[in-house]
């Protein structure tokens, strides 16, 4: 395009969206350079929720780091814990002092993580509806999320920040009626997903708002380091649970849903489909627990010393959280305090593409993009 003449040139308006804004999913600040409704550039500014996790972790015993991991991605705290715990267990194993984890604990970990994945995707679904302007899906999503949080409260006493998964197992046994409640929830929830799809996913206006908006090709997604549902939305079949199975994920049969072109709707749809797969995983886990008679097994955690001292060494371990590959790099100097902890955040990489994705779109599309990449500022800022 030819350079606009001086007479035609219009002033661009800089709109500072956030850090206090209803739909920046936390305390994100977007510096929008707008020409009318058209956004010429959206520059994300982060750091408003920085709490120094990595430095904290370097001054605390391993056990006490787990609650801090909860506070990174507070929407999916269980998954964050699991990543850290598995990393430390791997570190022990590498150093030749493996912890033997009871079978029941393995299953409980998978069950709670997948439940938390559902809860997290429900929140993504609900808030995405709210971003696009539909308020009702949010409350429907919270109704189901509430049941999951209630179950978490039963088993660990907390509803958001659980501190449940520990080295060698979990902190408490399941309650006796846990699996009944869970099965009841799952059968109800599967039907609910259908109604959510009717209400929002296939709504004409919703399709108009999200189809073809902010398309991310596979190549570009990989270049930006996208992972998780965002990457799968672009059509890449990459899921650590399948491709690098950790914990006991190789025992379950589930699909990896992918999108087609990588627009907002694809990213959103992947999450909706993933909830179904998570239901399948939880069902299989419950079935297998029943088959193996693990439900009445009192052995839910191995005895691990409170002064856990991993051998000298380092480890990088990544797991599939609802937001993508969450990687922990841990360096141990043999004491009970890690000498270095580094987190590879999936949301951070997702947000880094914001500037490219939003170029030339409308203000309303910016909101659609933020919702579709499903970021949690706690994890980005750490």
């Amino acid at each position: 395009m030819a350079a606009p003449t001086k007479a035609l040139r219009t002033d661009e308006m800089v709109l500072s969206m956030g850090p206090q804004h209803p739909s920046t999913h936390g305390v994100l600040r977007l510096e929008l350079k707008t020409d009318g409704e058209v956004v010429e550039e959206a520059i994300p500014h982060i750091g408003y929720l920085h709490r120094n996790f990595e430095k904290h972790a370097e001054s605390l015993p391993y056990f006490q780091i787990i609650p801090y991991t909860d506070r990174m991605d507070y929407i999916a705290a269980m998954n964050n814990e699991l990543g850290f715990v598995l990393a430390v267990e791997k570190l022990m194993e590498l150093g030749g002092k493996p912890i033997s984890i009871p079978e029941k604990a393995q299953y409980i970990r998978v069950v709670v993580c997948e439940m938390n994945r559902i809860a997290s995707h429900l929140l993504a679904f609900g808030t995405y509806g709210m971003d696009i302007g539909a308020l009702t899906p949010f409350l429907y999503a919270f109704r189901d999320r509430e049941t999951i949080l209630g179950l978490f409260e039963d088993i660990c006493g907390a509803r958001l920040l659980y501190n449940y998964i520990r080295f060698g197992g979990v902190s408490r046994d399941l309650t006796p009626d846990f699996h009944h409640k869970l099965r009841r929830f799952l059968s109800k929830f599967e039907k609910n997903i259908d109604s959510y799809n009717t209400l929002l996913t296939n709504n004409k206006i919703f399709l108009e708002r999200t189809k073809g908006v902010a398309v991310m090709s596979i190549d570009k997604a990989i270049q930006y380091g996208w992972t998780g549902p965002n990457l799968r939305g672009s059509g890449m079949k990459w899921d650590l649970r399948k491709d690098e199975p950790y914990s006991i994920y190789d025992r379950f049969d589930f699909e990896v849903p992918v999108g087609e072109i990588g627009d907002c709707w694809d990213r959103y749809k992947v999450r909706m489909d993933e909830m179904r797969e998570s239901v399948r995983i939880v069902r299989q886990a419950l079935d297998q627990m029943e088959e193996k008679g693990l439900l009445d097994d009192p052995n839910y955690a191995a005895k691990v010393s409170a002064k856990l001292r991993p051998p000298v060494g380092e480890v990088y371990f990544r797991t599939e959280t609802p937001r993508g590959d969450l990687g922990y790099y841990i360096q141990s100097d043999g004491t009970n305090v890690p000498s270095r902890v580094k987190v590879r955040s999936p949301c951070f990489t997702a947000l880094s593409a914001m500037r490219e994705l939003s170029r030339g779109l409308l203000v309303a599309d910016i909101i659609a993009i933020i919702g579709s990449i499903d970021i949690v500022m706690g994890e980005i800022d750490r």
Partner: protein
């Protein structure tokens, strides 16, 4: 002929004189009052009553919205203040009344203060043209329908005023969106109204209702297919006019916080809020009056029920549909909003106008079709043709959008 108000004033004066005489106060002075004064006093009393009633409508509507949204969303809604939470809006109102009157320091203070009143006054003035029951006074204005269009166009000025005076970017965004949206949607709305005016030759809302009083088949909505489509266009445009979901872009919470009233709080915010609900009620009432027979009963055997019941019932039904839309649908984007208006509603409205004009002409000349000894009027013929034409159009539409292979 005397104006009804004049007659009423004379009666009031006589009654007052009689009353003061029986009470031994000396009945001379009321009888001696000039008629002009009595008329003035009567009008003031009527106005006070009207404003009280009309101001009550948004309060009811706000409660209704909260309850409806709650039941749509598996909640109970307000339950604490009063039985079944009935008084919660009053409590809210009191809260807003006692809040600090904040005016942002960098705003244009004069316009910032003025704006809520412009919006409020404009939206409440429209109530004057609505006939809630059969009456020779209320809603019986020669230019009623036109006055509605004229006065409601003032609302947008208040909104621009608010958005600009706030000196906030979100407010300005909201105001510009509102202005563009309201000005655009006024056109299909006006065209839908014009169809009725073309067919009947009157702008008096009372007469329009009387013309529909025969029953549900006489409602303009069911007169002929063009009016049927027009009714939907009117309603959807009206939803856009009053900024409700799916067209609530001017106050899109997730995008521009609260749009043009972002910076407002306390009683000034309450004015916007009340005006918004009053608007929702007014456009529903006008839609009910124009297309659904207003205060007239849908079936003649039900005409014993007072007209105001029918009027309120139909209006509340439409208000409920608005709420239903709001709590179900997402919000459209600004370009989609405009394309809906200019690329769909407007052409359809033009076709409607043409069709309605032709039909009105045919009806007047009593041209129709003879079908086996039965005379079918042009309107009846158009109803019979309607589904076929729709099917044909649908076929054409599909034919046009067959996937085209493009070289990649």
């Amino acid at each position: 002929m005397k104006h009804p108000i004049e007659t009423a004033a004379e009666q009031i004066r006589a009654t007052a004189a009689e009353a003061t005489e029986t009470l031994n106060l000396g009945g001379a002075w009321p009888a001696g009052l000039p008629l002009e004064t009595v008329i003035l006093l009567t009008l003031v009393v009527i106005a006070v009553i009207a404003v009280t009633v009309v101001a009550g409508i948004p309060i009811v509507l706000v409660l209704m919205e909260r309850k409806v949204s709650a039941y749509f969303q598996n909640r109970l809604g307000p339950t604490r203040v009063g039985p079944w939470g009935l008084l919660v809006t009053l409590a809210d109102g009191i809260k807003l009344l006692f809040k600090e009157d904040m005016v942002p320091p960098s705003s244009d203070r004069k316009l910032f203060r003025l704006a809520p009143y412009v919006v409020f006054a404009a939206s409440f003035a429209v109530v004057a043209v609505i006939p809630p029951f059969q009456s020779t006074v209320i809603g019986n204005m020669d230019l009623g329908l036109f006055l509605y269009l004229a006065i409601s166009s003032l609302i947008v000025l208040g909104i621009i005023m608010a958005g600009w005076a706030s000196n906030s970017k979100y407010s300005l965004f909201g105001a510009l969106r509102a202005a563009a949206q309201i000005v655009s949607y006024e056109i299909p709305l006006g065209l839908a109204v014009l169809m009725i005016v073309m067919a009947t030759g009157t702008l008096n809302m009372q007469h329009l209702v009387m013309d529909q009083a025969d029953g549900i088949h006489a409602w303009y909505m069911f007169r002929h297919p063009f009016l049927f489509i027009g009714a939907f266009i009117y309603f959807l445009s009206a939803v856009a006019e009053v900024n409700r979901t799916p067209f609530d872009l001017p106050e899109a919470e997730s995008e521009i916080v609260a749009g043009y009233h972002t910076e407002y709080s306390g009683i000034r915010f309450a004015y916007f809020f009340l005006a918004e609900y009053a608007n929702a009620f007014i456009v529903s009432a006008i839609c009910a009056t124009l297309f659904m027979g207003g205060w007239a009963a849908p079936f003649p055997f039900l005409s014993g029920v007072p007209g105001v019941v029918w009027f309120l019932g139909k209006t509340m039904f439409l208000v409920f549909i608005m709420m239903w839309l709001r709590w179900t649908l997402p919000r459209v984007r600004v370009d989609q909003l405009m394309s809906l208006c200019w690329k769909y509603f407007l052409p359809i409205s033009f076709v409607n106008i043409l069709g309605a004009g032709v039909l009105a002409l045919l009806e007047r000349e009593e041209i129709g079709a003879q079908l086996g000894g039965m005379f079918l009027s042009a309107e009846a013929v158009s109803w019979i043709a309607f589904p076929f034409v729709l099917a044909l159009l649908g076929w054409f539409a599909r034919w046009g959008t067959e996937p085209v292979r493009r070289p990649s």
